[in-house]
Amino acid sequence: MSRNASRPDVDFADRFPRELAGELLAIAREGGADFSEVYAEYTVQTAFALDEGRLKRSSVAVLEGVGVRANAGAQTGYACADGFLPADLREAARVAGHIARDGGAGRVAPFHVTDSPAPFTLSFPAPLALDEAAKIAMLRRADEAARSADRRVREVEITHADSTRRFVVANSDGRWAEDRQYLSRFSVAALALEGDNRQQGFAAAGGCVEAGYFESERTPETVAREAAQSAITLLAAREPEAGSTPVVVAPGWGGVMVHECFGHSMEGDGIRKRTSIRADQRGRQVAAKGVTIVDSGVVPFSRGSFRVDDEGTPAQRTVLVEDGILIGYMWDLLNARIMRERPTGNGRRSSYRDYPLCRMTNTYIESGPHTPEDLVADVKRGLFCKHLGGGSVNPADGNFSFVVTEAWQIEDGRLTHPVRNATLTGNGNDAMLKIDAVANDLKIDGTTGSCGKNGQWKPCGVGQPTVRFSEITVGGTAT
């Protein structure tokens, strides 16, 4: 076939001219809204999946349309339309604008293009540079590697998915910003069987990466072997001992704990509405001394990074906690405007079909002074969490829980045997205060995370060095 079925990089500027954007912004302010914004998007997603050794699925998805937002004080009106038909877009703008109706029509400032520098650039973005044949070759290599890793590997499911997202965001304050974001994700799930015992291991690679990443950084074979090894390890794992115990969390993806236990409570919407327990804690000690927590949209090659956020604010590095003291929050435009804060580039939305929310980019704990070995060596009896699964938190009461897909028992400072099905639970109010040692091996995992908030999913990075908590409640069936 000569036709490239994916063909991701279509230009849509001619279908969304500035005059139309200006007209929509004006319509949305006709009722007196004090702010209006249009967001036009063209996204192409491709996916290939191999399982049972067969290439079973391939898909190309095109998502295109425009969303219009109007703000009146803290109120948001939003409407979207698929495609770029001017009549549909004008209707959306009118609907969004109805949130306000008792003021005079607002002005729309002349556009100024946001030209902040990109935090990093890609010469050969994977979604553009890898064609179908290249992606399929990766799937086959991973399948071969996982199956040859151990004869107990029974099934392997491999997916390659990527997206090219191009958007324009313009607002009534005269902002005009464009960005193009490339994401790739390669994942392997391996099922190991031994008699009646079945366990699944999982590993992933990707981010906002160059095509070469999959040959130089994390190859299909590396990912496949990790998934297979994890499944095999779990075959021999024991049930966790239930109760409170010291917990050491591995670097990288383990940062999902700081994301859930702490990050969500630092988002500007909860601070403004005072539904977060952190609303009055600026200047206070919220984490143990020596703990520094950062949210940064400029981490190279992470899926949580970008040049401008979905409101057109340049990405930045925001220190949330310095040496245990809360020094700043994360802000989107709406909440920053009401609270008279400076936006921090945290306004994000899953697509033109949703209004932006204040949310994290790449959130991580900075390195500390210890070696990772020290953290385990000092523990008499505890749990080392190597792979965490999903986690969640209730922002109002702070209760969190995490699934630990692969853990190891610590006895007298040594890892003795693997543990499966442990659940970590606690309350975000004090979790960060219970960190009693931070190692010097920071790793940011920008390959695979997605955060859900109010029904919107968004790619995020998380990270940390090896971190020890003095005590966390571990749920399990062994008592």
Partner: protein, 480 residues
Amino acid sequence: MSAPVRDPGAAGARVDGAAAQGSTPARLRDLGALAVECALAAGAAEAEACVESTRSFSVGVSGGAIETLKQNVTRGLGLRVLVGDAVGFVTTTDLTEGTLDDLAHRAVALARFLTPDPCNAFVTPAEAEGADGATLPEDLALFDPAVRELPAEKKIEWALELERLALAFDPRITRTDGAHVSTHDGASAIVNSNGIARAWDSTAVTAYVVPLADDRDGRQQTGCYGVSKRWLRDLPEPRAIAAEAARRAVSRIGARSVPSARVPVVLHPDIAANWISEMHKAFSGEALLKESSWLTGKLEQLIAAPLVTLVDDGRLRAGIGTEPWDGEGVATRKNRLIDRGRLATFVYDVYHARRAGRRSSGNAVRGYSSQPSIGFTNLYIEAGAQSPEQILKQVDRGFFMDDQGSFGFNSVTGDYSYQAQGFWIENGEKAFPVEGVTVASNSLEMLKNVVAVGNDLRFDHSVASSTLLISEMTVSGRAA
């Protein structure tokens, strides 16, 4: 302008201006047929189009004012093509003329990369009919014109009223994390080159509120309750929804942890419903084929207490999970997954049914933007005889679980381990609220350990259960 909007007035009326346009099922079916024609012309041996058009509206209020007002009018098409026994798939939100032909060529190009498999084929009218030759369509009551016509201002009023009633329920409820009302009005069509041409429309209305109750040390306890229905008249009064949500928040005040123990656990219907929705993957014919289900090799065996009958009913009248046809155009049906404790069947889409040498059970789930996969419709445990109070009375010392974390189920092993909230039970009564514990077991053990099923089955959403009593689970809390 930051004054609370208490009288939405004209705003509400004009938001509805867009209601008139919208695609009828017949128009979507024609569009699907056109896409199928384009695919055949582009070289596909068979083709199938899934087209959807939806209009959704939602309002969120907080502190007596509208916080968000949102209206989405969306439409999209997914096209599957069969080329040399392999399937290619393309989906788009751009349905303007001239794009279908391009779409079809892309799909055909994609299919050529895939592994041919004779089980890949789209369903024929003969295969797609209901079990026992049931004639279709019967009236499944999925569309309520009153939902389509409900004025925006009415929805805003309801949301404000929901919040007001929740705040008025108890002085310790001083704020909410919002009250929400949303409506959904959509049409769907499935058309394939074997002669399948389905189209139907449906509505849904949802209302929920999240009251926050003040607890000690400036902490808050959350209650959340909401209901989704196809018909406006089936939605409970705002007063009932608000009271249930508020009661949940207030009842948690003063919650504390308990020492770890193995005890009987009463699962609130919401918790039981979440468990069976996680369990459902184990009943998938795909998982069975790959041996990735913890129910592998157990067909026809007793896997649960005889009290347990687990049903997936795609034809429940006015059910939120009900559709006349599944995502491949196969008639949905009522499948008994566990029949009085016995593992009675696995569920299938067309592809995996063909591999297993049987017929689809009508369980292909999809939207226009995804390919069919095996899922559930309305999933529930049949009601038993005992009231929730009678069940509680049977427990001398145990845990009543009525809230949980989001993650804690292993779909490969059936292992169950959730962060939980609820009440400690002493002598058949709730003694005090509990938090900071996890509740763990394995689904096979739990199924066998069901010793009571309540008579309080209620469909607030598409998955439902009565109260269940599990004779023993591990509750882990603080050190004993």
